[in-house]
């Protein structure tokens, strides 16, 4: 190709755009930030199966019920809590979250007993609870200084409520991952005796349930309710009496500690002190103050009260781990697969056209498509095995469409005039646009579904198809025209 042809080509916006994107992708992968230690991988993000690590997928043992009733909802909640021995929380005007894996059939009679009706039933938790779970898991992972953890809430298609949480920990084996997720902190309540001295009252195992932040109607202050076991309530009363907290609450703060760090400290309220004088009290509430700050403190305190336990019970429904060495092996294997795919495609195309000036641009365009795809993926999608399969599938469809353009343009073996060329190119583009639209539509459900581990596959396929139709096919059309008109 003559140098003036090249200059002419670069001035064309389609070709220029392609070059800019390829350069941008290479910069994104290798230079922002520079990462020479990773060699060819640069800044690409890899999924667990290529990097090594463990994943756990857990199902919330909880259901969300839409109800209707003429009676006060408080009674319904109380009845449910008693008969199910589970926390029941009102999410909004007509939905309850029941923190137990209970079937609709088992719930019907309980609702009927409280003069209420079940209008809708779905497994899962409210988004509020789901976020709390995510926060707790995040805290645990961060506390251990884990660099590379991903925690995702998953909502099955057709449901409004998150039903699963998936946690992925890079570079961690299965046993450690399970330990991290299951690990609980040590929670303790102590009472101030004299000065800064405190005495032990009870440990977190005496706390039987923890509520959600609520605002007291009288004081407008936020607080978190929690319940003690009988033994815990007795210990609490004994301590309050022995150290004089009942008589002089303000001199004897109750101090809550998580892993030996103070997370809450406040005196007994007057009501509670009076109550404790006559009998043990099981239901307590820790007040955190008014306004947004109060609410925020209440949310944190709730997590602390649970000592890292999740508000909802979870069952592990799926798990897996990949040792780093095996991940490395997979990485090599897929790299070979990709290169070999590109190479065989080259051979087949050469066999058909026997014309380097067609085959080389085809392969170059195909390669640039993959570079751009990787450049975009670096920011939005970690590469796992499935998305690499998508990448190779994109090589396949990509070359398909270049063949359509070439054959359409070269119709009857003659090189057409620019006018005719554009007409034929337009027709070819029409075919590949419809084909691209169908691929995108066909892959869309998979890309949108939370549950599927094949999201990467679908997202890469869709992205690849879009880059093809918007950037690389138009550029190829231009390049091949320049070459053929020589």
């Amino acid at each position: 190709m003559k140098s003036e042809t090249i200059v002419h080509l670069i001035k064309d916006w389609r070709v220029a755009l392609l070059i800019v994107l390829v350069a941008g992708s290479l910069i994104g992968i290798y230079l922002t930030p520079p990462n020479p230690a990773n060699g060819l991988e640069g800044n690409l993000q890899f999924g667990l199966d290529l990097q090594g690590g463990s994943w756990l997928q857990m199902e919330f043992q909880s259901v969300v019920v839409a109800y209707s009733t003429d009676k006060p909802v408080g009674d319904l909640i109380e009845n449910l809590q008693k008969s199910l021995e589970a926390d029941v929380i009102q999410i909004d005007e007509n939905h309850l979250e029941i923190r137990k894996g209970v079937s609709r059939a088992d719930l019907e009679p309980l609702f009927a007993a409280s003069d209420a009706k079940i209008v809708g039933y779905q497994e899962g938790v409210s988004s509020f609870t789901a976020d709390e779970v995510k926060r707790i898991l995040n805290d645990k992972v961060n506390a251990l200084g884990m660099q590379d953890a991903r925690i995702n809430l998953l909502t099955p298609t057709g449901s409004e409520y998150p039903q699963y949480v998936r946690i992925e920990l890079a570079g961690v084996d299965m046993a450690t991952a399970q330990e991290i997720v299951g690990k609980q902190g040590m929670f303790e309540i102590r009472i101030q005796t004299t000065g800064n001295e405190t005495e032990h009252v009870l440990y977190g195992d005496q706390i039987t349930s923890v509520g959600v932040p609520q605002r007291s109607p009288e004081t407008q202050a936020w607080g978190v309710g929690f319940t003690l076991s009988d033994a815990g309530a007795q210990a609490f009363r004994d301590a309050a009496l022995r150290y004089g907290a009942v008589d002089n609450p303000n001199a004897h703060n109750l101090v809550m500690l998580l892993d030996n760090k103070t997370v809450y400290s406040a005196p007994l309220s007057g009501d509670l002190a009076a109550g404790l004088r006559s009998a043990p009290v099981r239901s307590l509430s820790a007040s955190t103050g008014t306004g947004d700050a109060g609410l925020e403190d209440a949310m944190t305190l709730e997590i602390h009260l649970r000592a890292g336990a999740l508000p909802v019970k979870v069952n592990v429904v799926g798990s897996g781990s990949v040792p780093a060495a095996l991940g490395e092996h997979f990485k090599t294997t897929v790299a070979i697969a990709g290169l070999l795919a590109l190479l065989t495609v080259g051979v087949v195309v050469y066999y058909r056209y026997r014309e380097p000036s067609i085959v080389i641009p085809m392969l170059a365009i195909n390669l640039s498509e993959i570079i751009i795809l990787l450049g975009i993926a670096r920011f939005i999608q970690q590469l796992d095995l499935a998305s690499i399969a998508g990448l190779i599938a994109v090589i396949g469809t990509g070359i398909d469409q270049l063949v359509i353009i070439t054959d359409e343009v070269l119709h009857e073996g003659r090189v057409p005039s620019p006018n005719l060329y554009m007409k034929r190119y337009g027709r070819a583009f029409g075919i590949i646009a419809i084909a691209a639209a169908t691929v995108i539509i066909a892959m869309l459900p998979l890309a949108l579904m939370d549950l599927s581990t094949l999201r990467g596959f679908a997202i890469i396929t869709i992205l690849g198809t879009m880059i093809g139709i918007l950037v690389t096919r138009p550029a190829y059309g231009k390049v091949i025209m320049e070459i053929l008109s020589k």
Partner: protein, 284 residues
């Protein structure tokens, strides 16, 4: 290449559509029968039935592995090159699973282990079915809008449907289970299949010229398209199967079968219907 010698103009439309329709019918019977007897059109893999899959590199023979895990619901032991083994177990209770994991860690500390619970598998099944359904409907809508003509659009949709059904039947016969990976491959097949169908339809309906020449031209282009795709997928299949990358190997095998099935459905079924349609003067 053998296909190139197939003279697409030699046969009457009736002859062209006969073989694909018979195969579609047989596939329908097979899948229908499996659905009636097992509740699912295809044998489900671990993703959908629940169970444990282990990828390990070891010099132990298949017999040794079978002996090692004889106390567990062992389903199959697959072998790749370089000592790669893919071992599958059926669902088991948690205590059993924990002891299995301990055993695996002791024998093959560098193994990849994945486990899916039985009920979660059911959920995945339902989701995969939804994906397939939405994909197919979406594809049909795009095709109908693109052609605004029921016969050619119907032919494309029918041939895509036949691709999926016949490929699924072949999977069932040669024992490739339905998993997340193979479901994705079936979805991908919708995309691939429509590629060549649209080329064919556009060439025949929108170009001027003799029918025979247009058909032959479309066939030439279509064959090269599918062979290049086949080449890419074959490379993916060889490397991933040899290297024990199970999910890619599964996706690639289904795509390979599907592309061959698609050759038949595009150039016999779809081409046959279109030819008949044009001969009857459907095209103005």
């Amino acid at each position: 290449m053998e296909f190139v010698r197939y003279d697409i103009n030699k046969y009457s439309p009736r002859q062209m559509v006969a073989l694909p329709l018979v195969l579609l019918l047989l596939a329908g019977i097979l899948l229908g029968y499996t659905t009636l007897t097992t509740g699912l059109p295809l044998k489900p893999g671990i993703d959908f039935a629940g169970g444990t899959a282990v990828t390990a590199f070891t010099s132990d023979s298949r017999e040794t592995i079978e002996a090692t895990f004889s106390g567990y619901p062992l389903l199959s032991v697959g072998e790749g090159i370089g000592g790669g083994k893919y071992i599958q177990f059926g669902p088991m209770d948690d205590a059993r699973y924990q002891s299995l994991v301990a055993l695996i860690n002791e024998k093959y500390p560098d193994a990849k282990v994945d486990q899916i619970g039985e009920t979660f598998g059911k959920t995945l099944q339902g989701q995969a079915f939804l994906a397939l359904l939405f994909s197919f409907i979406g594809m049909s809508v795009v095709v109908v809008i693109a052609f605004r003509n029921l016969v050619p659009a119907g032919a494309v949709v029918l041939s895509a449907f036949a691709d999926i059904a016949v490929t699924a039947a072949i999977m069932q016969i040669i024992g490739i289970p339905l998993s997340l990976g193979t479901t994705a491959a079936l979805l991908m097949l919708i995309g691939y299949s429509v590629d060549s169908d649209i080329l064919l339809t556009t060439r025949l309906l929108k170009r001027k010229g003799k029918l025979d020449e247009k058909l032959a031209g479309a066939f030439r282009t279509g064959i090269i398209m599918t062979t290049t795709t086949l080449a890419a997928i074959a490379a993916m299949w060889v490397v991933s199967t040899a290297g024990q990358v199970q999910i890619i190997s599964e996706i690639a095998s289904v795509l390979l079968i599907g592309l061959f099935v698609d050759l038949m459905n595009t150039w016999m079924l779809n081409a046959g219907i279109l030819k008949e349609y044009i001969l009857r003067g459907g095209k103005k």
